[in-house]
Amino acid sequence: MGKYICKRLLWMIVIVLGTAFIIFTILYFTPGDPARVIAGGNATAADVENMRHIMGLDRSYWVQLRDFLYHSFLKLDLGNSWVYNKPVMAELLIRLPRTFIIGLSAMALNLTAGLLMGIFAATHEGRWQDSLTMAIAMVFVSCPDFWVALMMILLFSAKLGWLPAYGIGGPQYYIMPIICSALGGIAVNARQTRASMLGVFREDYITTARAKGQRERYVVTKHMFPNALMPIITSIGSGFARIVAGSAVIESVFSVPGIGLYLLTAINSRDYPVVRACVLFFAIFTAVVMLLVDLVYAFVDPRIKAKYSSVRRRTKK
């Protein structure tokens, strides 16, 4: 197992570096001069040139890239925001918990609700409960999450006045963003769970378990569910990536001052250090979750475990 973890860790580092390279390159070749934007509308050509020098934009691509990688990864310094001239790292740390809470809670909600719906549908296959659950999942997966967010604001904030519509504060501020972030994923998970539960439904060992006279609930939880879990675990990673990326839009709808909203404002004001930092954060966040998912998968799947555990042949006594 140790070897497998090492291999995955190394690969994660490569992925994060690769992302850093890609994001830097994309921004470098973005048309438009950030110095001109930062210097302001009525700056002279000399002012802009001066600004470029201060911002270090007059250096070559490779020098800038090396500088960026060196500062971000070895000195853990993400630079200063060009617009506010404050350290990006400090701002990121303030915003971090909000995005974390929304992302991880949405993930938890996504998994529990999705699994329950999927199991419920699969155990009632062909009956009205199955059709109803799957119809709900179909509607969830088809509605744009940011539109659902707007509709929820309309209903729960404007009409009923139960929940605050925007900003951040106590726990009640998190309810709607979490639900909206999780909605699409719940549907995907429910469908996946149902499909994979039905996949093991007709396996011989299920028939065997039933033939032994085991109680139905026991058959479902002990025999079917663990075997149906594999494809579900693989889809956790992509589900999480979806939530993380969606958080930018959701945060913008609810005006949650998290990292997603930070990224969007920075893109609009061409504040590249902030953009790079936010994208790096998202990349690392996703990579870590993917790593955990892979490790859980390896732990659950005896085939991967066997591949990396030291081979001990059984010897005859």
């Binding site: 690969w11 994060v16 088809s142 509605c143 990536a241 996703t286 990579a287």
Partner: protein, 289 residues
């Protein structure tokens, strides 16, 4: 004689697939719904009761009524007409981006799967890095880089679809690569390109068709989200997401301005997803006789 026989089989497979979709109640509803939406959008100039930019300052913010089915917006433009015209953008965006992304994915996946060896390793590792950024995030970045506009948005939306398609095709090819017909094609000296795209591809493409169909729906949602946050297609254009962005400030006073565009997006995506589900069942080799 041979030719005739082949044609016969070809059409029968297609009609069979379509028959299966039609037999599936959900998918049939999807086909009808999507057909209505697409026809309405294509026929917008004939169907729409008002012009795309006909402003009527006296009738701003009129709620839904017989005269304006979906009401009018901040400039007195008829919302229903704008929805019809806007559908052209949204549908075209979703379709072009999904097809474009899937095509690039097919080429990459075919090369990786068929060539194997070092080329495959390099391509797959590259795809890993490519898809390490969530596709919506990548889409936001590329859209910001390329700027607004239809084709730039198509490109930005397509980029996120590529790795998935490539992986899918490669996986399919790996399970197909040791089959006899490929050996036969190699033995009669077919070129690599011809083997890849004429012999291998038709046998592995059906999961990708399902995937791309579902992708159209997801891409329409993504395009709308992109316009909503101010990237992609911009407000004067009646793209559905852009209309939502436009109406954002009026949400509390005139909620119908937000309700209708979102509802139309949801219905369209629902129709496409239903068709995708039906298509998956129809193309499932396990169910095929």
């Amino acid at each position: 004689m041979m030719m005739q026989k082949r044609d016969l089989q070809k059409t029968s497979l297609l009609t069979e697939t379509f028959q299966r979709i039609w037999d599936n109640a959900g998918a049939r509803a999807g086909v009808i719904l999507l057909a209505v939406i697409v026809l309405a959008c294509l026929g917008a100039p004939a169907i729409a009761p008002y012009g795309l930019n006909d402003m009527d300052i006296q009738n701003m913010f009129r709620g839904p009524s017989l005269k304006h089915i979906c009401g009018t917006d901040a400039m007195g433009r008829d919302l229903f007409s704008r929805l019809l015209y806007g559908g052209r953008y949204s549908l075209a965006l979703g379709f072009c981006a999904a097809v474009f992304g899937a095509s690039v994915g097919i080429v990459i996946g075919c090369v990786a799967g068929y060539c194997g060896g070092r080329i495959e390793t390099i391509i797959m590792r590259f795809l890993d890095i490519w898809s390490s950024l969530p596709s919506m995030l990548l889409c936001i970045l590329i859209s910001a880089t390329l700027g607004a506009g239809f084709f730039n948005t198509v490109l930005a939306l397509a980029v996120g679809n590529v790795p998935n398609g490539a992986r899918l095709i490669r996986g399919q090819i790996l399970s197909e690569v040791s089959k006899e017909y490929l050996e036969a094609a190699e033995s009669i000296n077919c070129s690599k390109l011809s083997i890849m795209f004429r012999h291998l591809l038709p046998n592995v493409i059906s999961p990708l068709i399902v995937d791309a169909t579902m992708g159209i729906g997801m891409t329409i949602t993504m395009a709308a989200a992109l316009s909503y946050i101010g990237l992609g297609v911009q407000p004067p254009t009646p793209e559905w997401g852009a209309m939502l962005a436009d109406a954002r400030t009026h949400i509390l006073n005139y909620p119908y301005l937000i309700m209708f565009p979102g509802l139309v997006i949801a219905l369209t995506v629902l129709a496409i997803n239903l068709i995708g589900d039906g298509l998956r069942d129809a193309m499932d080799p396990k169910l095929r006789k």
